[in-house]
Amino acid sequence: MTEAIPHNPVEPFLRVDRMPHIWCPGCGIGTTVNCFTRALLESKVDLNRVAVVSGIGCTGRVAGYARLDSFHTTHGRAIPFATGLKLANPGLEVVVYSGDGDLTAIGGNHLIHAARRNIDIKVICVNNMIYAMTGGQTAPTTPATAITSTAPYGAFEPSFNLVQLAESAGASYVARWTTYHVRQLSRSMSEMFQKRGFCFIEVLSPCPTLYQRRNKLGDGLDTMKYYKEAGKIRHGAPTSEAVLTKQGEILLGKFVDRDRPDYLELMRRQLYEQLGDRYQEAEVPVCA
C-alpha cells in the first residue's frame, strides 16, 4: 500500500538531510524560518541566487538548514562577510540571518556601518532578548529587571531599541514583527526582497528554555499569547516610540520604507563622474 506522504511546501527550501534541527520545542526560530521560506516562495526569487549568511548562536544555525548557498561565519561578523559577498557578486540576493546578540553586541559596529553605507543586504534579526546558545546571558536587548544567567538579580543596563538604531544608522527598510504575526512577517520578508538597500527586520521570538522559563513567563504558547495581546501594529510609527520592556506593549509594523541610493550605486556614480570611460565595472564573478 502506498500512502502519500504529506508534502510540506517549505521542504524544498530546507536541508531535510540535516533534520532534526537543534532548536528546542517552543523555540521561535523555526517559525521565522517557515516565514522566510514562504517569502522566498511568494517573491519568486531565483533560489540559486540567494545566499544566507549567519553569525553564531541558536539563530546562527539557520544558515545550515537553508537549502541555499549558506555561510555560517564567526560571531558578530555575518554582516561584513555579507558585504564582501554582495560587493564581489552584486547579482546575489544576500540575506543575513542571525541573533540579537550576534548582530547588535559583538557585531553592532558592522550593523550600523552597513546601514550607513546602505549596502544592499537583507538582515533578519531574531530577538529573543538573550544570548541563548551560550546559556542565557544578558544581551544588549535584555529588558531591565529580566533575570539572566549573568544578571541573576535582574538586568539593569538600558537596552537597545533595534528598530530605532537601524533607522538612525540609515537603513532603507525597517520592520518589527513577532513569531505570532507570521503572515505579516512573511509579507515583510517578501517586501524586503523587492527593496534595494539595507533592510532590517526584527522578529521577537521566544526562548522558552532560557528566557521565558527563567523569568517565570511560561512556555512558548504563553509567549504567543503575550505577543498577541501586547502587539500593537502601527505602520510608520516613530521608531523612538518602539521601546521594548519586559512585558509591556510591543509596537509592531513597518516603520521605515525609503529610497536611498545604495553603496554600489553611489560608488559607480562617483567613479564614472571622476574617471569617465576609464572606469571599468567589475566583471562577475570576478575570478574564473
Binding site: S70, F81, A88
Partner: protein, 385 residues
C-alpha cells in the same frame, strides 16, 4: 594560466615595497581588497583604491580589521580573488578570521607590514615580531604559509606567489613585510602578463547534485564552488564533514584537522623557499629573513674580508619552515647565527631544526631600527673563535 593583462603594469618601475605588493596582488588577479588604515601598511590599499576602478574590481574600506578580514572571505566565496593588508594591532584583530579561512579553506591573502610592538608600539618603525603570531595566532591546529620578502621586487613577486599558493592549497597565506621593506624604494621589474604564471581557482567540475564541498581531491585539497552558481552548498567554521555539514565528533575533527595540516606537506617537503649563498665552504652561516637579511649581507662581506668562511641562508617561506635544509646545513657548519628584529622567534625554529648538530646563536633586536652589521659580525667572529 597566465595573468590577466588588465592588472599587470608591465615595465620597469621605481616603487616602494607596499606599492610593489599592491602591484603583485593586481597581477595575481586580486580584484577585491578590504582594509582598515594602519601605518606602515596603508599604502598598499591606497594604491589599490586608486588603481582598481580602471582595472575592474573594488576596494572597500571597512569599519575595522575584523570586518576587513571577513569581508575578503565573503568576496572569495562570491568569486573574487581578495586580500587585506594590516600591521601589528590590526593583525591581532584578524586572528579569528585567519582561523576561519583555514577551517573553511578559503583562499585569500593577508599582508602584514610589521612594526614595533607589543600593542601600539612603534607605528612607523620596523620589527619582525609577528612571525610566531603569523604561524600560531589563531586558536586551534592548522597549517600555515607565510612568505618574507626582502625587497620591493620580492614584494611584487612573492605577493603573486602568495595568491598562487593560497589557490593551490586553499588556505590563507601571509605576506610578512616589515616597515623597512614596505617603505624602501627600489627598482621593480614587472614582466608582461604572459610571463606571469597564475594558479587558477580550483573550481569543481562536478554538477551540483554530485558536488561535495569538502570532499578532498587526491592532493587533499577540495574543489570550490561559488555562491550563485546553483550548488547551494554550506560553509561553516564548525567542524564539518565532506558535505560541509557540522559534525561534532572526534572522528570528524581528527579527519578534518589532520587534513588541514597534511595538505601543506608537499610544500613543507620540498617547495619551501629559501636563498643560499657562499655556503659551500662555510663554517658558519647567518640565517635571516626580510630586512635583516640585507643587513646580514653586509656582515657576511665584512666576515669574508677577514677571512672567515661565512655563508648566507635566507628564509623566504618562514612557514612552512625550511626545516630539512637547515638540518642538513647544521650538519656541515659549526654555528648558525640568527639575527632578527625581535627578542627571539625564528631562532627557536632554527635551533629545533639544527637538533644539536651546530651551535645556534640569536642576535636579538627589540625593533624600531635594524641591526648594526657590526653586531652580526661580532656574533660570527665569536662563533668561529
Amino acid at each position: 594560466m597566465h595573468a590577466d593583462p588588465k592588472g599587470v603594469l608591465t615595465g620597469v618601475h621605481f616603487l616602494d615595497g607596499d606599492h610593489a605588493c599592491c602591484e603583485g596582488a593586481l597581477a595575481a588577479g586580486a580584484r577585491f581588497a578590504a582594509g582598515y588604515p594602519i601605518t606602515p601598511s596603508t599604502e598598499v590599499v591606497e594604491r589599490f583604491a586608486a588603481r582598481i576602478p580602471t582595472v575592474g574590481g573594488l576596494f572597500v574600506q571597512m569599519e575595522d580589521e575584523l570586518a576587513a578580514s571577513i569581508a575578503i572571505q565573503g568576496a572569495v566565496w562570491g568569486g573574487a580573488k581578495a586580500f587585506t593588508v594590516t600591521s601589528g594591532p590590526g593583525f591581532s584583530l584578524m586572528m579569528e578570521h585567519i582561523g576561519y579561512a583555514a577551517m573553511t579553506e578559503t583562499p585569500c591573502v593577508f599582508v602584514d607590514v610589521q612594526r614595533g610592538g607589543p600593542s601600539t608600539g612603534l607605528p612607523t618603525l620596523p620589527a619582525q615580531a609577528d612571525m610566531m603570531q603569523a604561524r600560531w595566532g589563531s586558536h586551534g591546529d592548522y597549517g600555515m604559509i607565510a612568505l618574507c620578502p626582502n625587497s620591493p621586487q620580492e614584494c611584487f613577486d612573492l605577493t603573486i606567489q602568495a595568491f598562487n599558493l593560497s589557490e593551490q592549497f586553499r588556505t590563507p597565506v601571509m605576506v610578512m613585510l616589515d616597515e623597512c621593506v614596505g617603505h624602501m624604494t627600489e627598482k621593480v621589474v614587472i614582466p608582461p602578463a604572459e610571463q606571469i604564471e597564475i594558479y587558477p581557482r580550483r573550481h569543481t567540475a562536478e554538477p551540483p547534485d554530485r558536488y561535495q564541498p569538502y570532499a578532498p581531491a587526491e592532493d587533499l585539497v577540495p574543489a570550490m564552488a561559488h555562491a550563485g552558481e546553483g550548488y547551494r552548498f554550506h560553509v561553516t567554521g564548525l567542524t564539518h564533514d565532506e558535505r560541509g555539514y557540522p559534525s561534532m565528533n572526534v572522528e570528524t575533527q581528527d579527519r578534518l584537522v589532520r587534513r588541514l595540516q597534511a595538505k601543506l606537506r608537499p610544500l613543507a617537503e620540498g617547495l619551501e623557499l629559501f636563498a643560499a649563498s657562499d655556503l659551500g665552504d662555510a663554517e658558519v652561516a647567518v640565517v635571516s629573513y626580510g630586512i635583516t637579511s640585507r643587513v646580514a649581507k653586509r656582515a657576511l662581506q665584512l666576515a669574508r674580508e677577514r677571512g672567515v668562511r661565512a655563508g648566507e641562508f635566507r628564509i623566504i617561506s618562514a612557514w612552512p619552515f625550511p626545516e630539512d635544509r637547515l638540518r642538513a646545513l647544521a650538519g656541515r657548519v659549526k654555528a648558525l647565527i640568527v639575527p632578527e628584529l625581535n627578542l627571539g622567534q625564528m631562532v627557536y625554529e632554527v635551533e629545533r631544526a639544527a637538533a644539536g648538530q651546530a651551535r645556534v646563536r640569536g642576535v636579538p633586536h627589540a625593533g624600531g631600527g635594524v641591526h648594526d652589521p657590526e653586531q652580526i659580525l661580532a656574533a660570527i667572529l665569536e662563533a668561529v673563535r
